[in-house]
């Protein structure tokens, strides 16, 4: 039976063009309206070395990369060995490898079962014969894959034409010959792989973008016109995109000397009345924490987009983890209120960034957006994003208020009118020192107490107005799962699969981590029998954070946590569901 969902991994060395292959398949899928999620992985080399790309194309909805690939293309088994444990194949996978590579491979090492199909393909010879160069190996492979598995052939051919359109006519012609040779070779293969053909009806083209790109577009949409940042993996794409597009939107970008300067410049730009943002990863966020406190104290709107990677220290720069949570929640000395948002997929990166600006501007508070490498760097298809996302502006004083302007006036919701340079009569002198309503420095205990109370009061309306929560599954579930960020993808997939089998599992995914949507979550807890927290943090940062302000059901609370470095899989979630469900036979007597 044909498939509606297919995952293909391609592995090779630099120069084999596997990244281009992944791009082209993803582009072609997006062109034909398919759902696509594409991830890339590299060795530590700056250039060359092993690389892999995995593309999932599907006619149905998908929420994460697949646990196992259905089709594996290996140009060189030595390169594949470098991804051991990271790319596993389905037991019945089809494995296409270079005929000249005679390495003995143990299928069990890859996850392949006895019914896997092993096909040797003379990629090198086919490329040489058809296109006259081994460089066309990837194009030959695209032809072969499109014919064997019904990948969008016409869009692929157009993608090749576009790629080589600027080169000499012979180059384009050679590559088209390579593509055709791949198709022809596929027709000669004796193996029956018809049950792995993708079945779909072509639809309208879809957007194909990464989380970092979505965040950058979200920033421009929200009105960001100043960006200061320092390059760091895996967040640099935000800087890259904005360096091109922010000037087009009338804004400016500074690549600063370090992260201290980046957050300093953002606070400066925002103080000057221009919506400002920086993007970084864990090590950079660590450097920014002192000035996170400054933004909280001086009540300057600031958006910090943090793309988490494995830590501590340099850690795993190219891999995902959910371990910047405590740093985002608690980093900085003193009692420094901030807001922490957590996008859960690529589209969220757009919306969370707009929300971050809205919250920062409306409440004059620093907002950290905690993305992670998984959603930041993968490319996935989206429908044209909801563009009517409201954009909010900061509260300016009235003419009457300017008569005796109190920058830090105590108000019921904690928000004081804020001027910016250029507003005559609105001058004030602010500081990181504790200050009175006019901004004048003080070290009086009573003023400090009042001002702390004012600054923290802003969190209440934020909690009430910005509670983005995703919930999946039935209301009266036997098991409720709580997760955040990119873990949403595999959790959602596992929950929906379980629900389809009649298993009563639900999930709760908050997109505001601080202030936490306590009431909604407690309501969720009341409706479930067993409860589990799932996260990619060795020390269980999320679980422990919840414990600081919530009573979790004793004897019914479970946790699945591990280090990052490998994305959460659907199978891991399913194992947890299977293990905990039998315990939900009786309803808890005492609820929250």
């Amino acid at each position: 039976m044909p498939r509606s969902d297919l995952s293909i991994a391609m592995v090779g060395s630099g120069g084999d063009g596997v990244v281009t292959m992944g791009d082209m398949i993803a582009q072609a899928g997006a062109r034909d309206g398919l759902n696509v999620i594409k991830v890339e992985a590299y060795g530590p080399q700056i250039r060359g070395g092993e690389s892999s790309t995995t593309v999932r194309v599907a006619a149905n909805d998908i929420y994460a990369q697949a646990d196992h690939v259905d089709i594996l293309v290996v140009f060189n088994w030595k390169d594949f060995a470098r991804f051991k444990g990271e790319i596993t194949v389905a037991p019945d996978a089809i494995i296409l490898s270079e005929a000249k590579d005679e390495t003995e491979v143990d299928g069990a090492d890859l996850g392949a079962g006895p019914n896997a199909t092993w096909i040797k393909v003379p990629f090198i010879d086919l490329a040489k014969e058809s296109a006259g160069t081994t460089l066309a190996k990837n194009i030959v492979t695209l032809g072969l894959l499109s014919e064997l598995f019904n990948l969008p052939q016409k869009p692929l051919k157009r993608a090749i034409e576009k790629k080589f359109s600027k080169k000499k006519a012979e180059v384009l012609e050679a590559n088209i010959k390579g593509f055709t040779a791949g198709i022809d070779f596929a027709k000669t293969l004796g193996e029956d792989v018809g049950d792995r053909r993708l079945e779909y009806t072509p639809g309208e083209p879809r957007l194909l973008m990464s989380g970092n790109e979505a965040a950058a577009v979200g920033a421009i949409h929200a009105g960001c016109r100043f960006f200061a940042g320092y390059p760091i993996t895996p967040s640099s794409e935000v800087l890259h995109f904005l360096s091109e597009w922010l000037p087009k939107a009338g804004g400016s970008v500074v690549q600063t000397e370090d992260e201290l300067a980046a957050i300093g410049a953002v606070i400066g730009g925002s103080f000057a009345g221009v919506k400002s943002m920086t993007a970084t990863s864990g090590p950079g966020l660590a450097l920014m924490t002192e000035m996170l406190g400054l933004a909280a104290m001086a009540e300057v709107p600031a958006v910090i987009f943090d793309v988490q990677r494995g830590g501590p220290s340099t850690g795993l720069p190219t891999k995902s983890e959910q371990s910047d949570l405590w740093q985002a929640l608690y980093g900085s000395h003193g009692d420094a209120p901030r807001v922490v948002l957590a996008p859960a997929d690529v589209e969220d990166c757009f919306h969370s960034t707009v929300d971050a600006f809205n919250i920062a501007e409306e409440y004059q508070i620093p907002v950290i957006v905690l993305s992670d490498q998984n959603i930041a760097q993968r490319r996935e298809t989206l429908s044209m994003l909801t563009l009517d996302h409201e954009v909010k502006e900061r509260l300016a004083p009235t003419a009457e208020q300017l008569e005796d302007y109190k920058r830090y006036e105590i108000t019921p919701n904690g928000v004081s009118p804020m001027t910016w340079p250029g507003i005559k009569g609105g001058q004030y002198q602010t500081n990181g020192l504790e200050h009175d309503e006019y901004g004048r420095p003080t070290s009086m205990h009573l003023v400090h107490e009042k001002m702390n109370e004012k600054r923290y009061r802003k969190l209440r309306p934020i909690r009430d107005d910005y509670h983005f929560i995703r919930q999946y599954g039935p209301d009266d579930a036997d098991l409720g799962i709580l997760c955040w960020g990119s873990s949403k993808g595999p959790v959602k997939e596992a929950v929906l699969k379980a629900n389809a089998r009649g298993v009563k599992v639900a999930a709760f995914v908050p997109q505001v981590l601080y202030p936490f949507p306590k009431h909604e979550f407690e309501e969720f807890l009341r409706r479930i029998k067993e409860f589990i927290v799932i996260e990619l943090s060795f020390s269980a940062q999320f679980y422990k954070y919840l414990r600081t302000f919530l009573e979790l059901p004793e004897g019914h609370t479970h946790i699945f946590k591990r280090s990052g470095g490998k994305n959460l899989t659907v199978a891991e979630v399913e194992e947890q569901i299977a293990a905990i469900l039998p315990r939900a036979a009786t309803k808890r007597e005492v609820l929250v």
């Binding site: 062109r31 194909l208 200061a228 597009w245 000397e257 400066g268 340079p421 002198q429």
Partner: protein, 290 residues
Amino acid sequence: MSAPEVTYKPGDFKTDLKPVWCPGCGDFGVLNALYRAMASLSLEPWNTVILSGIGCSSRLPGYVATYGFNSVHGRALALATGVKVARPDLTVIAVGGDGDGMAIGGNHLMHSCRRNLDVTYILMDNEIYGLTKGQTAPTTPTGDKTKSSYWGNPEPAVDPVELAISTGATFVARGFSGDLKNLTAMIQRGIEHRGFSFINVMSPCVTWRGDSQYQLLKAKLQELPEDYDPTNRASAVKYTRETDVLTTGVLYEAGGPTIGDRVEHIRMMAQEGGKVPTTREILERFMPSM
């Protein structure tokens, strides 16, 4: 530029805050010179921003009735970079001490000079940490005994002026807080200069360096010769190397584009006639193009 409508007196720039400085502190002289320079330039207070880091001298923004920001230690220029690049229409002044600007914030000076950030940076140099009560600074002379160098400072001092010239500042001057007239003129020229203007003001600390520092500085200070050519970088560097005298005046002045000019140029290139793309147009870029 049209003539300003209002004229200002130095006192117009005062806030109602009383400086926390010790009686006799050199920073009073700098503050007064700044008030006067701002008045003679008729700077509109609402279009002027003064930023600082942390230290005795970094309290200065609180005493000037412009927009002001006393930020965190060492980051005056980091904030000033954001203010000036985001709002090139504003007059931006950064102030601070030698510990703030030469130690913890030293890196930002180099890059502000290199970028030719159109900001005036006034470094009040007392060769000591005052606010934390008398520790060695990067500008403290070798051998001097301080609270943190009981046996005498084992390190050579940095010359902020030489550093600024070598890293690309386009206006570099050295002044003295006890010479109000010349300091006022110098600050005025610095603010008028297009590009990064760095003014190192020797500003004695009566509390931690005693009267001797003031006397020593007074004896060492020497004005530039009248026929001095500030556009000659080599001679500017020569004066910074002299150790028995401290030359005051504008040592170096040059032209050249500022970071603001370059950013504006980029914006013009990017905008192709001032057309700002909508979010939908930006997203079109992510549609498969084939």
